[in-house]
């Protein structure tokens, strides 16, 4: 039995449907992420799991028990808020002790568990500090410790890393993974940052306009997006309209406008004549001088129109004869060199026959 079972949950605000007939099940011990752009309903769903909001229809089951009618304070679910929501008038130790006190634990038990919790987030010497004396990362760790100290069945995390700068955020991601492994508590994590979701989660539910578009492991979400929305939202991807010429179990032959014929991996349920999109990730595309072009199944000539240097890699935007743009990524293997091609250069781009993915309309 799944630990958390969301069954056909719908939540409307007036005429606006924030969550539309969503069903999700989360296993015990899982790091589960709700990912989507703002307004996709992920926060509303999280608030309903916590108990701050109620579904208009559908059920939320925790350990098989319907949670509707159980107020937030009675649910074995704790939340790490986006703004941390640490109590400013309490010391770090008192903040962490709060859920234990509310649960009526004995003083000596509270003391040992607070000490353990402080230890687990490497803040042993900070028990007597007040929240306003802590850095952003430290506040964040106190919020984690406070959420975990009373061993909830479920820890909800509402964009907890959103307020941190990039470097600290990466550190905290590592810490969060380790922390979850250590305590074994099930995490439901909400974020709009796709790289964060990919890095942290066991499984991701990609949400859009109140609907779940796809639930899968990070590599499946990234590698085999189910539709254009997921493909576009997660990572960078180039997409072109295509029609199926031949559908074999091992491969699909596609007609891609004036570019010509493209071969891609086989996919179930596709038949000749189907219309859709061919989507390819920039890192799957090989870019080279036309003279040294690799004779892969799919290869085309194009012109470099633009490039974006981000340090480790440079992304080249290549225009194909039909006017379509394809992004190709090249690691900057030579130090001090920001680019291997100039704008206007003729280049050859190619990709393996199983690199692209066909998304039918």
């Amino acid at each position: 039995m799944a630990l958390l079972e969301i069954r056909n949950v719908t939540r409307r605000f007036g005429s606006y449907t924030a969550v539309d007939n969503v069903s999700i099940s989360v296993e015990a011990g899982e790091f589960f992420t709700l990912l989507g752009p703002s307004g996709c309903g992920k926060t509303t769903l999280l608030r309903m799991i916590a108990g701050f909001d109620l579904p208009d229809s559908g059920q939320i089951l925790l350990d098989g028990r319907d949670m509707v009618g159980t107020p937030p304070e009675k649910r074995p679910v704790h939340t790490v808020f986006q703004t941390y929501a640490l109590f400013p008038h309490m010391t770090v130790a008192d903040n962490i002790a709060f859920p234990l006190r509310m649960a009526g634990k004995k003083t000596h038990e509270i003391q040992t568990r607070v000490a353990d919790a402080l230890d687990s987030v490497r803040l042993s010497n900070f028990g007597n500090r007040f929240p306003n004396e802590l850095s952003g990362g430290q506040k964040q760790r106190v919020a984690f410790a406070r959420g975990l100290v009373n061993r909830p069945r479920l820890l909800l995390l509402d964009e907890p890393l959103g307020a941190l700068d990039a470097k600290l955020r990466e550190e905290m991601q590592m810490e969060l993974i380790n922390l979850q492994k250590e305590v074994g508590v099930t995490f439901v994590f909400v974020t709009h940052a796709q790289n964060e979701a990919l890095a942290l989660s066991h499984r991701i539910a990609v949400m859009n306009r109140g609907n779940v578009e796809q639930i899968d492991e990070p590599s499946k979400i990234y590698g085999f997006p189910k539709n254009r929305f997921v493909a576009d939202f997660i990572g960078k991807i180039s997409m072109m309209n295509a029609q199926v010429l031949e559908a074999a179990p091992t491969h699909l032959r596609l007609d891609v406008g004036e570019v010509g014929e493209v071969t891609t991996a086989g996919k179930e349920g596709i038949k000749a004549g189907d219309k859709g999109t061919i989507a390819i990730r920039p890192e799957q595309i090989l870019i080279s001088h036309p003279s040294e072009a690799r004779r892969l199944k799919n290869h085309f000539l194009g012109k470099v129109r633009d490039f974006l240097y981000v340090g480790d890699v440079t992304t080249y935007i290549v225009e194909l004869p039909n006017g379509a743009f394809i992004e190709a990524l090249l690691p900057n293997s030579a130090p001090g060199r920001a680019k291997f091609f100039e704008v206007g250069d003729q280049v050859s781009i190619s990709w393996h026959h199983d690199a692209g993915i066909f998304l039918n309309d």
Binding site: P72, E73, A85, L86, H89, P99, M102
Partner: protein, 304 residues
């Protein structure tokens, strides 16, 4: 930046803060010093003050400086009693105002933003009519022929209890005091509560706190600065108030304010009146100091 330029803002600052500073020196510091001096002089034969040096040809009479007013204050337990009673009335008024104002301030702070200003306006609206007129209105409300008196005495009569007079009683004084000072408690409380981060209450609830615990562990401690400033704004004026006991109280309900007023307008003993004022100021200052110390230790001396 040249030196002149650097000094220019300082000159501007003096220009802005100078006049109010001067005003306070002339009309607060100087009168206070005059009052301290007055408390150590002898009263004049027909009111006012006796000269410090004996005038030419004076045969007898008291001149110079004396601590007689203070000796007089400590010689009779009556004055200490009036002080104590005044502090009692001020404490009771403060407490009742707090109990009444807190739920109101919470209500205003948690209602929709567009209604808040209107509600605050309604709280201060009584200030639009004259203070004395409002107190006289209470005289009518509490008077023996008022509907309220009839209503209460009918109920008491049903239980066989003799009718009571509401007016000219400590009860009437307390009602008047609470009525006048309630807005001074509501406003600072509201200003404080309005700033509370609502996610703290969500967090408390999420972590297992029920309604009462959320209030007692989060809202109340965070509102203490508002409680303290509201209490000061009620407690201190009540101590000096003489109009309310004058109008609504009986003969036995005089407070320090009335006593001081009488020294100047009735008994015409200026030195004693001044001494009483100074004793009152000292008492208020020590209470305020104590409250500050208590507030600091309660809120841990940090900016909330």
């Amino acid at each position: 930046m040249t030196k002149e330029e650097a000094n220019a803002p300082r000159a501007a600052r003096f220009l802005v803060s100078g006049p109010p500073l001067l005003f306070l020196v002339v009309f607060f510091v100087v009168p206070s010093l005059i009052m301290i001096l007055t408390s150590f002089r002898f009263p004049g034969e027909f009111g006012g003050l006796a000269p410090i040096t004996a005038p030419a040809g004076a045969v007898d009479g008291e001149y110079g400086l004396t601590a007689e007013a203070y000796q007089f204050f400590f010689s009779d337990i009556l004055y200490a009693e009036i002080f104590l009673k005044s502090f009692g009335v001020a404490s009771a008024t403060t407490l009742i105002c707090l109990v009444m104002a807190y739920p109101l301030a919470v209500l205003i702070a948690r209602s929709e933003k567009r209604f808040r200003n209107l509600m605050v306006l309604l709280v201060v609206l009584p200030f639009a009519s004259n203070f004395l007129i409002r107190i006289y209105a209470w005289m009518i409300i509490l008077g023996p022929e008022s509907g309220l008196s009839h209503f209460i005495n009918t109920i008491l009569g049903a239980f066989g209890i003799a009718p009571v007079t509401l007016l000219f009683s400590p009860f009437a004084v307390l009602i008047g005091m609470v009525y006048v000072h309630l807005p001074f408690m509501v406003l600072p409380l509201y200003t404080n509560l309005e700033k509370h981060d609502p996610s703290l209450l969500d967090a408390a609830q999420d972590l297992g706190a029920n309604g009462w615990q959320r209030f007692w562990r989060v809202t109340w401690p965070l509102s203490l600065p508002g409680v303290f400033s509201g209490s000061a704004l009620v407690f201190i004026p009540v101590l000096g108030m003489f109009a309310v006991p004058d109008i609504l109280g009986g003969t036995g309900d005089i407070l320090i304010g009335n006593l001081i007023k009488d020294q100047f307008l009735g008994t015409r003993d200026w030195p004693f009146g001044s001494a009483l004022s100074i004793m009152l100021t000292l008492a208020v200052l020590s209470v305020a100091g104590l409250a500050t110390w208590f507030a600091r230790s309660a809120t841990g001396q940090r900016a909330a």
